[in-house]
């Protein structure tokens, strides 16, 4: 695939759309949770105000280089995920920088932010951050296992590592989707999806009520704003990958919006009605249910 300069503004436009979509989506999910609890909930534009406020705070404290880089890594994990994954299939400008081996890169970027966060939170020197990060890494690692297995299964099935080609192979009708051609892989991947979206029952790492808010304990003002931005972008980016790999991708923005919304609602709805797992419980859950399904998916391809 050749590179052209026009791709840069195109990719930024995609990023902008996804950022706004993510900010609204996060608010909608919080509103959903509030409505389940019988509350009106936050206004849908609340996330924008929070962002502006955090950027507008006058003082900030730096604990060192890695502390500064933590949110930057995290955000670049989210942005990188978007930039290297084709958002809209067949669109000339929302292809971003996808290339032949982008599936591997995407898998890497999913993990990248967490690692950056671990370094940053480690340097903040707060014990809660250190505990939170170690719990988070343990949980995310096991949650990603079924996802990795499902992706290998897909790579074997389609004989490619390019997300564009995987999407292309799923075109031409509902029953060409991986959901129907390789259901075991989809089930395994959905375990990982629910597990890494940081919603209940797997949100013990970031929950404000647990070891206070976990890794970002020390983060504030603009640092926190960066992480909020990532909290908006990253789940959408991840959902895009799942949509591309398992649910036939999207051929236009409307299809994109609907599919991402529905996919995003899966962990949200599960989260609203389920209490929180402890870390060891969720690890056990993934190893017990997610991992065997993933292995089965590879075996049955």
């Amino acid at each position: 695939m050749t590179f052209e300069w026009i791709q840069v503004p195109y990719a930024l436009a995609t990023l902008f759309i996804i950022l706004n979509y993510g900010l609204l989506m996060t608010a909608v999910v919080r509103k959903l949770a509030a409505r389940v609890g019988g509350r009106p909930g936050i206004p849908v534009w609340q996330n924008y105000i929070d962002l502006v406020k955090n950027f507008a705070l006058r003082s900030k404290i730096n604990h060192g280089v890695m502390y500064y880089l933590g949110p930057v890594f995290r955000l670049s994990g989210g942005i990188g995920l978007i930039l290297f994954v084709p958002t809209i299939y067949g669109s000339s400008w929302a292809q971003n920088f996808s290339f032949a081996g982008d599936l591997v890169l995407a898998l890497y970027f999913i993990f990248f932010g967490t690692l950056g966060m671990a370094l940053g939170a480690g340097e903040s020197g707060h014990p809660h951050s250190a505990i939170g990060v170690s719990r988070g890494l343990a949980q995310v690692t096991t949650a990603e296992l079924p996802m990795a297995l499902a992706v290998y299964s897909l790579a074997i099935q389609y004989q490619t590592l390019s997300i564009t080609e995987i999407v292309a192979a799923q075109q031409g009708g509902l029953f060409n989707w991986t959901l129907f051609t390789n259901p075991l892989a989809v089930v395994a991947a959905m375990f990982a999806f629910v597990g890494t979206m940081m919603r209940s029952p797997f949100d013990v790492v970031l929950a404000p009520q647990e070891i206070p808010i976990g890794p970002p304990t020390e983060y504030h003002s603009a640092y926190l704003a960066l992480m909020q931005t990532n909290r908006a972008i990253f789940p959408i980016a991840k959902t895009i990958i799942y949509m591309n790999l398992f649910f036939g991708g999207a051929a236009n923005w409307a299809e994109f919006a609907i599919k991402v919304f529905l996919l995003y609602m899966i962990p949200a709805v599960i989260g609203v009605v389920h209490p929180r797992f402890r870390v060891e419980q969720s690890i056990r859950f993934f190893l017990k249910w997610g991992l065997p399904v993933g292995i089965l998916a590879i075996l049955t391809v």
């Binding site: 509350r39 909930g41 006058r58 020390e218």
Partner: protein, 230 residues
């Protein structure tokens, strides 16, 4: 009933020694090196708080103030009985979230410190630490008559009577205790103040730092923390 009593004189001679683990000392490291440790200086930054200027353009500052007013993050730190009255604000009946008011678990991320009720000297110490760790602009709301003039603890040996002697208070909500409705009204009032740019408590604290510190140290006898801990 007598209001002023001068027969009893409080003991002014005794001072509280610094806790042992906070005293400066010499330590031999495992490789035989001898190093000097002064915990209060080594582990904390000594810089005093700074006065932060407003944004250069008034319109930008107004926009920021609007955002600050509509995104009040409260530190979930209940000092007294008033903490009970804050809880209903999260529930379906009052739901303060719809006004952009949220509770944060860490002082770093919050902008609003609610002193919810009486403040014993021991809690005052923690409240000061929490306040100083918050990022400016930050606001303090005193809840209930205890923070205003001592309330029913007016003759207590261990609770302060005027909060604004120790922290810059932006707003008081009167009552014993104020009900959640009063709290919501107070929040709305605070929003108006913030939008009008009148809540500059952090700068006030930085400007009158020496006064505030002197007041704080006059009641906290075992001052075992740095002068400003952020």
């Amino acid at each position: 009933m007598k209001d002023v009593d001068d027969k009893f004189l409080k003991n002014l001679d005794r001072t509280v020694p610094l806790r042992e683990e906070l005293r400066p000392r010499k330590v031999t490291t495992p490789d035989g090196q001898e190093i000097e440790i002064e915990p209060l200086k080594d582990y904390f930054c000594e810089a005093a708080p700074k006065v932060h200027a407003k944004s250069y353009f008034p319109i930008v500052e107004d926009f920021y103030n609007w955002a600050r007013a509509n995104s009040l993050w409260i530190l979930g730190f209940g000092t007294g009985c008033g903490a009970i009255e804050m809880r209903p604000l999260m529930t379906p009946r009052f739901d303060a979230y719809r006004y952009g008011i949220q509770w944060r678990p860490t002082p770093r991320q919050s902008n609003l410190l609610m002193i919810s009720g009486y403040l014993s000297v021991k809690t005052l110490k923690r409240a000061i630490r929490a306040y100083e760790q918050m990022q400016g602009p930050k606001y303090v709301v005193g809840l209930g008559s205890c923070t205003i003039n001592g309330g029913m603890y007016w003759d207590s040996y261990n609770t302060i009577k005027r909060l604004d002697q120790y922290l810059p208070v932006d707003l008081y909500i009167a009552g014993c205790m104020p009900r959640p409705e009063a709290l919501l009204a107070g929040f709305m009032e605070l929003k108006k103040l913030i939008k009008a740019g009148k809540c500059e408590g952090a700068n006030k604290y930085a400007e009158n730092f020496a006064t505030y510190k002197a007041n704080q140290k006059s009641v906290i006898k075992d001052w075992d923390m740095p002068d400003y801990n952020w």
